[in-house]
Each structure stands twice: as structure tokens, then as C-alpha cells.
């Protein structure tokens, strides 16, 4: 009896490990940027090429930084949620139009709604690289001191918004 108990135990442990491992999402790479200051940059705005935007302007505010592009399918999926969330005015949302054509980005916002305080325009993707962007959309919650507190890779879901972003934003705003 004992002879079989040990291999059976090992087998069960192995199955449990595989079950957990196979259910992890390999695309969700933990970001090393959480808890670090948001990288600084200065790029033109999407709607005003002669004006620039730098995250320093947002110091003192809790804000959401959303990386999007008109060519990005998941962004469209996420967009209505952002538009709704923007209306609640919980936190300002700044967009980063990533590797897009200026006209395409503007047309996209005109068509689907513009929840952004403003959108910065990252034509060559350099800002994206500094933020560790590898799959648009990505969203960062940045606190009053300019530290990244949360990062969502891929579209924001209603659950993530309700359970993570809103509570954390309210806590940081206190």
C-alpha cells in the first residue's frame, strides 16, 4: 500500500504544478516599473503639434496614462469603457498615441469619443520603449509623486477598472 502512496503523491503534486503553470498567462510579464518614477519625456501633443507634453505637468495629481493607437484592435474594444470612465471624472486620463499617423489618431478619437485630457504623440515609439510597452493598449496609474502604482497590459476590463483601478485611485487621492 505504502509503495503506491509515494508515487501517487508525487503525481498529484506534479499535476497541481502543471495545472497552475498552464493557467498562467505568459503575456502578463510583471513590470519592473511598478513603484518606480514614471519615465520623463517631452513629445508633441496629438491635437497641437506645436505644444508639448511632459509627465511632470501632472505632478500633484493621480492620473491614468493610457497607450493607444488607431491601428490597435484591442484599443477599440477598451475604448467605450474609457469614455465612460472619463465622464465620471475620477482621475484625469492622458493618452499616448503610439506609433500612429497623426490624422488617423485624430480621426479615431473624433469617431469613437475622446476621454483624454490630452493625447501625447509618440510617432517613433521611443516613449513606449521607456515605459516598457510591448502590447498596446497598456495603462498606467501614476500617483501624485509621479510614481507608477499599477500597470494593465492589454485592454482594461470592467472588472479591472472596478476592482483595481478605481479603488487604488481613490486611495491614492486621499
Amino acid at each position: 500500500m505504502n509503495k503506491f502512496l509515494l508515487p501517487l503523491g508525487i503525481f498529484i503534486v506534479l499535476v497541481a504544478l502543471l495545472a497552475v503553470g498552464l493557467n498562467l498567462n505568459p503575456r502578463e510579464v510583471p513590470s519592473p516599473l511598478i513603484g518606480k518614477p514614471a519615465p520623463d519625456f517631452s513629445v508633441p501633443r496629438l491635437h497641437a503639434a506645436d505644444q508639448s507634453f511632459s509627465p511632470k505637468e501632472m505632478l500633484g495629481k493621480v492620473w491614468l496614462f493610457n497607450v493607444w493607437a488607431s491601428w490597435c484592435v484591442s484599443c477599440r474594444e477598451e475604448h467605450p469603457l474609457l469614455v465612460e470612465f472619463g465622464k465620471t471624472g475620477t482621475v484625469p486620463i492622458v493618452g499616448l498615441n503610439y506609433k500612429d499617423k497623426r490624422e488617423d489618431g485624430q480621426r479615431w478619437l473624433a469617431r469613437f469619443g475622446d476621454p483624454y485630457l490630452l493625447s501625447a504623440y509618440d510617432a517613433d515609439g521611443r516613449v513606449g520603449i521607456n515605459y516598457g510597452v510591448y502590447g498596446v493598449p497598456e495603462t498606467y496609474l501614476i500617483d501624485k509623486q509621479g510614481v507608477i502604482r499599477f500597470k494593465q497590459i492589454g485592454p482594461i476590463t470592467p472588472e479591472v477598472l472596478q476592482n483595481k483601478i478605481i479603488p487604488l485611485a481613490q486611495e491614492l487621492n486621499k
Binding site: P26, V29, P30, P32, G125, R126, I129, G132
Partner: protein
């Protein structure tokens, strides 16, 4: 006045000719280092490809970034640190040795030691069992009889 102009025109043409003759890889030394570094890095979009082999847009951008860093005179380690600080340890195909990865690096050797330990323990136990099995009186007499039989 005409001479410098003519010279400038000539130089200009020479320059054009030189540009046309430029090889695909701008600077072979930089490109070689780029390939060396990029084969050790993971492309995050297509995770089982290296940064050197991937045709994904992000991989192209990152190669451009790495190329620029090399031209700025950064060492290989500095270039890798640049990417790790943005994308995490996951970009490295060869994990760094640090407290979080001690188990990863030492794990196989620990398992080997455990295996050798178990084997040694098992062999010792078996040896003891063999040695500790005394013959019963009956068996001893039979063995003696057999031995005697052989001698005669």
C-alpha cells in the same frame, strides 16, 4: 571663386557615390555586436523568438534602440540593463545570478545531491538488511550438511 565651388560640387558627387556603395549593414562592428546582444534577448511580442530573429515591429524598434546605445559607446551589460529596467528580467534568455534566481541556478544541483543522497541511503539500507539477516538454526545445519557433502 569658381574653384571651391567646383570642388564642392565634385565632393558632393563623390559623397553621393559613396552613399550608394554603402553596404546594408552600416557599420559591421556595430551590427555584429547588435546581433550578439539581440540573440540573448527575448522578443516580447513573439515570446519564443529572439530579438535578433524577430520581424515584429517592436523588435525592429528595440534593435534600433540597441544600435543607438551601442553607437553611444554603451557596454553590452549596460545595453541589457537598459532593457531589463524597462521590460524586466523576462527579456533575458540567460537569467542573471541574484538572490531571486539562486534557486533557479542551484536547483538542478540540489536535486542531483538529493538524488545521490537517496541512492546512498538506499544502498546502505540494503547492505544492512543483507548483513542483518541471521540464519535460523535449521538453515545453519542444512548449510553445514551441504558444505560437508562437498568436502567429502
Amino acid at each position: 571663386m569658381k574653384k571651391p565651388l567646383a570642388l564642392a560640387a565634385l565632393l558632393c558627387c563623390l559623397n553621393v557615390a559613396a552613399q550608394e556603395a554603402k553596404p546594408l549593414a552600416e557599420d559591421p562592428v556595430v551590427e555584429q555586436r547588435l546581433v550578439n546582444i539581440a540573440t540573448e534577448l527575448r522578443c516580447l511580442v513573439c515570446q519564443n523568438e529572439s530579438l535578433a530573429g524577430s520581424q515584429a515591429d517592436l523588435a525592429k524598434d528595440l534593435r534600433r534602440e540597441v544600435r543607438d546605445l551601442i553607437k553611444e559607446g554603451k557596454t553590452d551589460t549596460e545595453v541589457k540593463d537598459f532593457l531589463v529596467s524597462r521590460y524586466g528580467d523576462f527579456v533575458l534568455y540567460r537569467p542573471q545570478v541574484k538572490p531571486q534566481t539562486y534557486l533557479l541556478w542551484a536547483g538542478p544541483f540540489i536535486l542531483l545531491l538529493v538524488g545521490i543522497g537517496a541512492l546512498v541511503a538506499y544502498l546502505r539500507k540494503r547492505e544492512r538488511q543483507v548483513a542483518d539477516t541471521p540464519l535460523s538454526e535449521e538453515e545453519r545445519q542444512r548449510a553445514e550438511a551441504l558444505l560437508k557433502e562437498n568436502q567429502s
